[in-house]
Assembly symmetry: C2
Homo-oligomer: 142 residues x 2
């Protein structure tokens, strides 16, 4: 319950509806990378948990273990005419967790990247049919 | 012609088929962010050009102007059973270009982020129907 207010009800429903997010991490040499990932909101920890096949051996996992930097965007193209992208931009701090004790992603590798949101910016999530030029970002520290 | 080999023919067709990519940039304080973006391969410059409404005033544009760091992923969920994500992971160096002289994205703001690929990793682009466990990354420096 402590973390219930990180996301609005509409944002939680949106997160649940989208099969992929895109995770940015940073390599030790400074290079950025972005990868499509499966993810789930973890209400117990107030984090977004990102698992996957061979997660603990992945470069993104090692990046997070190295510097704790990550950001996730969950978005979709709601309409093309007018051009309308719904978007939930999530920034925060991340931790590489070898075994979260919850079975992780269900695969043989339980490791997850655990992203703790510190800033959330929602666009057109509450009402995707607002006219494009009336869309206001729902941005806040969480 | 100089840049023709940055991407394979299949990769160029894939880039052309996808309406959105996701761009990672880094804020001056080190925070990562990811944003959905429209993009186009620019064969004249050998770069991926990213424009958009109010680009020059956007945080991502200012991030790139500050440190030149960016990465783009273009991906889609090709099938859910088996789970299959096609993906083109593009890393490189980026430049904030106020006026590329080509009309930019066609909007009132001609500014673009220009990403010059230095490393490309393609997954399941050449043949999305390869069985999941036989997919091999097509990774190379370009």
């Amino acid at each position: 319950m402590l973390y219930r207010m990180t996301f609005t009800e509409a944002e939680l429903a949106y997160l649940d509806s989208q099969p992929l997010g895109r995770l940015a991490t940073q390599q030790p040499d400074g290079t950025l990378q972005v990868n499509p990932v499966g993810f789930a909101w973890n209400a117990d920890t107030g984090t977004i948990d990102i698992g996957g096949f061979s997660m603990s051996r992945s470069r993104k996992y090692r990046n997070v273990a190295h510097n704790g930097r990550a950001a996730l965007v969950v978005d979709d193209l709601w309409s093309t005419d007018p051009w309308r992208v719904r978007c939930l931009d999530i920034r925060g701090t991340a931790e590489a967790v070898p075994d979260p004790g919850t079975g992780g992603s269900g695969g043989s590798d339980p490791a997850v990247i655990r992203l703790r949101p510190t800033r959330v910016i929602g666009m057109a999530i509450e009402d995707p049919d607002v006219p494009p030029h009336e869309i206001r970002a729902n941005a806040r520290d969480v």
